[in-house]
C-alpha cells in the first residue's frame, strides 16, 4: 500500500510539472498573455504602400505597443493596401484624426504601424477608419532618388 502511494504521488508530481511546463511555455514564453483577441477593437487604414508590413506586425503609439496588424489586403478599386489592426481595449481613446504611418524599427528592423494622435475631441470607434496615412518608406526608392539627384548635380 505504501508503495502504491508513493507511486501515485510521483505520477501526480510528474503530471503537474508537465502541465506547469506547458503553462510556462504558453504564458511566459509566448505572446498569449500580452492581450486577448476577444475584447479588442479593430480599426483600419488605407496606405498607398504597405512596404514590408506583415500580419502580426506591432501597432504602436508614442513607442508603446498597443495592438497588432490583423490583416492586410489589396483594394482592387482604389489600388491601395487596406491594413486592419486590432487594438488593445485599454487604449480606446484614440482621436478620430489620428495619423497612421509605417515605420521601420532601426535601419534593418521590422516594420510597424505608428499611430500619431491628433487633436480631435471625438474618438475612433470599433471598425473605425483612419483617413490620414503616410506610406512606408521604401529604402531602395529613397536611395534611388538620392543617387539620381547626386548624379544630376554632378552633371550640371
Amino acid at each position: 500500500m505504501q508503495h502504491t502511494n508513493t507511486q501515485d504521488t510521483l505520477v501526480g508530481l510528474f503530471v503537474a510539472s508537465g502541465i506547469a511546463g506547458m503553462f510556462f511555455l504558453s504564458l511566459q514564453v509566448s505572446n498569449l498573455s500580452s492581450f486577448s483577441q476577444k475584447d479588442s477593437y479593430t480599426i483600419s487604414a488605407r496606405f498607398e504602400n504597405s512596404g514590408g508590413l506583415k500580419v502580426k506586425s506591432p501597432v504602436s503609439a508614442a513607442g508603446v505597443k498597443i495592438g497588432q496588424v490583423s490583416s492586410i489586403h489589396f483594394d482592387t478599386k482604389t489600388y491601395e493596401a487596406v491594413v486592419t489592426m486590432t487594438i488593445n481595449p485599454k487604449y480606446n481613446t484614440l482621436p478620430d484624426d489620428t495619423t497612421a504611418s509605417i515605420f521601420t524599427a532601426g535601419l534593418l528592423g521590422e516594420q510597424y504601424v505608428n499611430l500619431e494622435p491628433g487633436g480631435s475631441e471625438s474618438y475612433l470607434k470599433d471598425n473605425g477608419k483612419i483617413d490620414i496615412t503616410q506610406p512606408a518608406i521604401i529604402l531602395e526608392k529613397a536611395l534611388g532618388q538620392f543617387l539620381f539627384k547626386a548624379a544630376e548635380e554632378k552633371s550640371e
Binding site: 507511486q7 505520477v11 510539472s17 511546463g21 511555455l25 514564453v29 509566448s30 505572446n31
Partner: protein, 260 residues
Amino acid sequence: MIQFLQNLGAETRTSFTKLGRGTFFLLQTLSGILSVLPRPRLLINQLYSVGVLSFLIITISGLFVGMVLGLQGYYTLSDFGAEESLGVMVATSLVRELGPVVSALLFAGRAGTALTAEIGLMKATEQLSGMEMMAVDPIKRIISPRFLAGLFSMPLLAALFSAVGIIGGQLVGSGLLGLDEGAYWSQMQAKLDFQDDIVNGMIKSIVFGFVITWIALFEGYDAIPTSEGVSRATTRTVVNSAFSILGLDFILTALMFGEN
C-alpha cells in the same frame, strides 16, 4: 540474378506483411483503450514507468541543451551585435524543433526500449499466452494502458524539456555572459506566437509519442520469443523510432511552418 530478385521480392513481402500486422495491432490497441478507462490503476502504473522514470533524463538533457544553445547562440549572435535576440533564438529552436525531437529520441531510448524488452520477455516466458488461456485479452490488459501512458507522457515531457531548456539558456545568458534578463524574456514574448509555435510543437510531440509507443509495443509483441529475438526487437525499436521521428519531423515542419 534470379536469386537476387527472389530475395528482393521476399524481403518486400515480409516488410509489407509486417506493416499490415503493425496496423492491425494498432487498431486492436486503439479499440482496447476504452476498456482501460474504468481501470485507471493500470494507467497510473504505466505512467510511472513510462513517464516518471523518464523525467530525470529529460529535464537534465533539456537543461544542458538550453545552456549549450545559450552559449553557441551568444557567440554567433554577438558577431552581428544581436545578443539581445538570444532569448528568441533559444526559445524558437527549443519550442519548434529541439524540444519535441530531442525529447522524443530520448524517450524512445529510455521508455521505448523498456516497453519492447518487457513485452518481448512476457512473450518469451509465455505470460501473454498464459493470459489468453485465462481469457484475459493481453492487448487490453497489457498493451493499451502502456500505449495510453506513452501518448500522454510524451507532450508533458516535451513541454518540460523546452521549459527547462529556456531557463537553462537564460541562466547562461544572463548569469554567465551578463546579458540583460529583461531583453531575453521580452524579445521572446514578442516573437513567439502561441498558435504557431507552442501549439505546433505540442502537436509534434503528440505525433511522436504516438509513433514511438506504437513501434515499441509492436516490436515487443511481434518479437521472436527467444533472448536473441528480444534483443533484436529492442534494437529495432530504437532504430525505427529514430527514423520515424526525424522523417515525420521534416514532414510536420514543412506542413506547419511552410507559409511563413
